[in-house]
């Protein structure tokens, strides 16, 4: 047996053993005392012992997870007026608990349910009284658009799902719920349109989510990394968006959406590489403008990875490539710089990176100041001090600006990382090094898959009509077929022929 196979087998065995070891919480009959014991030192636990209609009732809820008025109105008041009737009839939203399933009872209590022990009747009920403060729906800051809907997801899964339900009033919208995270017990929703999404893809998502074993998820990007096909790649393989309109469009295209409670983002899968350069605004703009902007974003990728590295390779290895006039200007601008081009470029690129990082972490107003200080003061001063040439400052600025153009933040980060590889290779082997790196980069991208489908579609064409909604956005009349990337059950977007 190969060592890798042996290792895989061991990991599977441990995972299986853990699955069996997980306490079901089942056992002896649950009493109020046992609940108190389990939640000892939990300050926000309210434990009340009441006598209602001459019957002893123990009530448990977490102050921080419920609205007291709601508990009073939906639980206490109906019970007080019940005249000893069956509580299940009096409390329409109440559900009976298994009297020996401590695990499930705890789960409900911790999720904001109110637990009622009717000792005389030997009955335990739980009522959903969950009510917490939450952030209101605001504009998307990371994916802002001028046109189109402006709402964005919040941290409450229910609100996010309601935003989608409002947009997709079809019974075909299916929402599968899972609970993951051994400590956090996060709720995950998998959404898809049953009549469009590929069944195999849905099964893959289900299996991957069920196989996730981790203590807890603080945001969708963490879960996404654990679900993607190639987790070691710097490039994202699932889309990530905070906009309901983006998610709606993806669902209509046959994609599958994963949402996590507590995270204002949704993962879209499968997603192609080119889609990371698309914005929902492409469909709100006229087709011609949208196509131009898409091409700028995509070719911006090449410019941002090749611009500063070309500066290094041309000045280090191939100065003869420059026209004499440009070479003169460059020589003059670099005459004071004591470093080789690769050190000079790395220095300025790292300064820009530090400025960006500092600008993000600071409050908005200070962040702006830092941008001005960095951009103007440090830039000008470093040129005057002879640490960098002024032409390089222009190139680095253009390159930095273009790296922020892709609407997908993770893609933008990946591109900036890859750029350093190009600069180093240019410093080592000039233009050949750059091209070798380009070949490696594209080979890597060609090797990436999203739910098993190649990410480079339609670069490696799966269907020629994909090109109509790829690098360009054709007029709506021509977008008749769904993207082949999603392997949708129904290929056409309009009821023609097959539909």
């Amino acid at each position: 047996m190969r060592p890798t196979d042996w290792w895989r087998e061991q990991v599977t065995k441990v995972a299986e053993a853990r699955r069996h070891e997980q306490p079901s919480g089942r056992g002896e009959r649950i009493t109020p005392h046992m609940v108190k014991e389990q939640l000892a030192n939990v300050d926000d636990l309210s434990s009340l012992s009441l006598t209602i209609n001459e019957e002893e009732v123990h009530v448990f809820f977490l102050d921080t997870m419920v609205d007291l008025t709601q508990v009073y109105e939906t639980v206490f008041l109906p019970l007080q007026r019940s005249d000893g009737k069956d509580p299940l009839r009096v409390l329409p939203y109440a559900q009976p608990c298994q009297s020996d399933d401590m695990g499930r009872l705890m789960n409900n209590l911790l999720r904001g349910h109110t637990i009622l022990f009717f000792l005389d009747r030997e009955l335990i009920l739980h009522v959903n009284t969950f009510q917490v403060e939450h952030r209101s729906i605001t504009k998307s800051e990371s994916e802002a658009t001028v046109l189109g809907p402006q709402d964005s997801f919040v941290e409450m899964l229910e609100i996010n799902l309601s935003m989608l339900r409002r947009r997709l009033t079809t019974p075909n919208l299916k929402i599968l719920a899972y609970t993951i995270g051994t400590e956090t017990k996060n709720r995950v929703a998998v959404l898809y349109l049953e009549n469009i999404a590929n069944d195999e893809n849905v099964e893959r998502v289900k299996t991957r989510i069920q196989n996730v074993e981790y203590q807890g998820f603080v945001g969708m990007p963490v879960l996404k990394q654990m679900l993607e096909d190639k987790p070691y790649s710097p490039f994202p393989q699932f889309g990530l968006t905070g906009r309901p309109d983006n998610v709606t469009a993806a669902l209509l295209d046959g994609r599958i959406i994963i949402m996590l409670n507590g995270s204002p983002d949704a993962a879209i899968c499968p997603a192609s590489f080119l889609e990371m350069f698309s914005s929902p605004e492409d469909f709100y703009n006229r087709w011609s403008t949208a196509s131009l902007l898409r091409m700028i974003r995509f070719f911006g990728l090449f410019v941002t990875i090749l611009l500063t590295s070309s500066y290094v390779s041309v000045l280090t290895f191939h100065p003869e490539m420059l026209p004499p006039a440009l070479l003169t200007i460059l020589s003059q601008s670099r005459s004071q710089v004591p470093f080789p081009p690769v050190i000079e470029v790395l220095f300025i690129e790292l300064v820009i990176e530090v400025l960006r990082e500092a600008g993000i972490r600071m409050p908005t107003k200070i962040g702006q100041t830092i941008g001005i200080v960095g951009g103007i003061v440090i830039g000008t001063a470093s040129v005057q001090a002879g640490l960098a040439s002024n032409i390089l400052i222009v190139l680095v600025s253009i390159s930095a600006l273009l790296s922020f153009v892709p609407p997908n933040f993770l893609m933008s980060n990946a591109i900036r990382l890859v750029r350093y590889g190009f600069i180093l290779m240019a410093g080592l082997m000039g233009m050949y090094g750059q091209m070798l790196m380009l070949a490696f980069l594209f080979a890597h991208l060609l090797n990436l898959t999203s739910l098993g489908t190649p990410c480079m579609a339609p670069g490696v064409p799966r269907q020629w009509t994909d090109l109509l909604n790829g690098l360009v956005r054709a007029p709506m009349k021509f977008i008749v077929y769904r993207n082949r990337m999603s392997r949708a059950k129904r290929k056409q977007t309009r009821p023609i022929g097959e539909e």
Binding site: E320, G430, M431, Y432, L436, A439, F442, N447
Partner: protein, 361 residues
């Protein structure tokens, strides 16, 4: 990763694979190799295309008889385990030599033209690592990379207009002003630039539309012939006969005809981008070597790829003298190639004999 025998090569990938495996380092010197024909060299690719087409028919005929087997398996079925494996080793050596030929020619060119002050160690190491990475992704990744390489380098054909405008098209006249000996010499010298299609014998089982494979392979081959004719016509128009006979890399000098306002010496960019063509050739051959080892070992292991990669690297960077290497790449590899493209005829005969005796595959 596309390991195992899955039918993963769609028509467009087959065409891309054929084109890019054939076009490699030899194109850079094509006009030089065929210079014996003088100004008539421009039609030599058509002759080579005809030879290639003729040799493709037996290949396809053989593959159709064994649609799910690579050449390595066919050898074992037709020649028996030991003789079959012996021939397989020769084919694997041929594949490794071809990968080394492409890499060696390219890194020597790099050293001559772009990286004069460096040894070939680092550029070759970089090239070998990327080649390894791509090949590790399987034939589908190799084929996709070939297709991508076509997009990255195909535009360079447009640059031919500069050379064409500066030269004189009338150089092609008088037509057929050459003798048979010169034609045969030119064909022999330049046939290395047509090799690459014979890998079809290995990737045929992976093709999706096997019934149309012949058509797709021929589209690839004749596209290459068209590219070569275009390049050679431009060379004929631009160069004198003496230049073609004496310039080792005429394509580089053709690049010099390009005049752009924002860039001089565009050949640096051209040579840099050529790495896509080199990689698409060397990865296909490396995959061929790996498949050979895997088919013989009947299992898949990483060292099946590591071994040919390491051999290919040490062929170039090892103790072998450059003169010996040149002999191996220019003669041994090409003659092995001739043998391989004619080999299916023998195998077909053997198949017919065995079928006749009721021992069909």
């Amino acid at each position: 990763m596309d390991r195992g025998k899955i039918h993963s090569l769609r028509p467009v990938l087959v065409v891309g694979l054929v084109i890019n495996t054939m076009v490699g380092v030899n194109l850079l010197s094509l006009a030089h190799y065929a210079s014996k024909m003088g100004y008539n060299l421009w039609w030599s690719p058509i002759l080579m295309g005809l030879i290639v087409t003729l040799t493709i028919f037996p290949m396809i005929a053989l593959c159709r008889r064994y649609p799910e087997d690579t050449l390595f398996r066919i050898h074992e079925k037709l020649l028996g385990k030991w003789l079959g494996r012996g021939i397989n080793v020769v084919v694997i050596v041929y594949a490794i030599l071809n990968a080394s030929t492409a890499n060696e020619g390219y890194v020597r060119l790099l050293q001559t033209s772009m990286l004069n002050n460096q040894t070939i160690t680092v550029p070759l190491l970089g090239l070998t690592l990327v080649m390894f990475y791509i090949t590790n992704g399987g034939i589908k990744l190799v084929a996709r990379f070939c297709l991508l390489a076509l997009f990255f380098t195909g535009w360079m054909l447009l640059l031919l207009q500069y050379g064409f405008q500066e030269g004189g098209i009338t150089h092609i006249f008088p037509l057929f002003n050459t003798d048979l000996a010169s034609v045969l010499d030119a064909l022999n010298q330049s046939f290395g630039s047509m090799l690459g299609y014979e890998v079809l014998l290995i990737y045929y089982p992976f093709i999706v539309e096997k019934k149309k494979a012949l058509k797709h392979v021929l589209i690839g081959v004749w596209s290459v012939v068209l590219f070569y004719v275009l390049v050679l016509i431009t060379s004929v128009a631009y160069f004198s006969e003496w230049q073609m006979a004496n310039l080792v890399y005429p394509i580089l000098n053709l690049f010099k005809a390009v005049e752009l306002s924002f860039m001089e010496r565009i050949e640096n960019l051209g040579i840099g981008l050529w790495v896509f063509l080199i990689l698409s050739t060397s990865t296909t051959y490396l995959w061929m070597a790996r498949t050979g080892i895997e088919d013989m070992a009947r299992k898949q292991r990483l060292w099946h790829l590591l071994l040919p990669t390491a051999i290919s690297y040490y062929m170039i960077r090892g103790p072998l003298a450059v003169e010996d290497q040149r002999f191996i790449y220019d003669y041994v590899t090409v003659y092995l190639g001739y043998g391989l493209i004619l080999w299916p005829i023998f195998l077909l005969l053997l198949h017919a004999l065995r079928s006749g005796r009721g021992e069909g595959a």
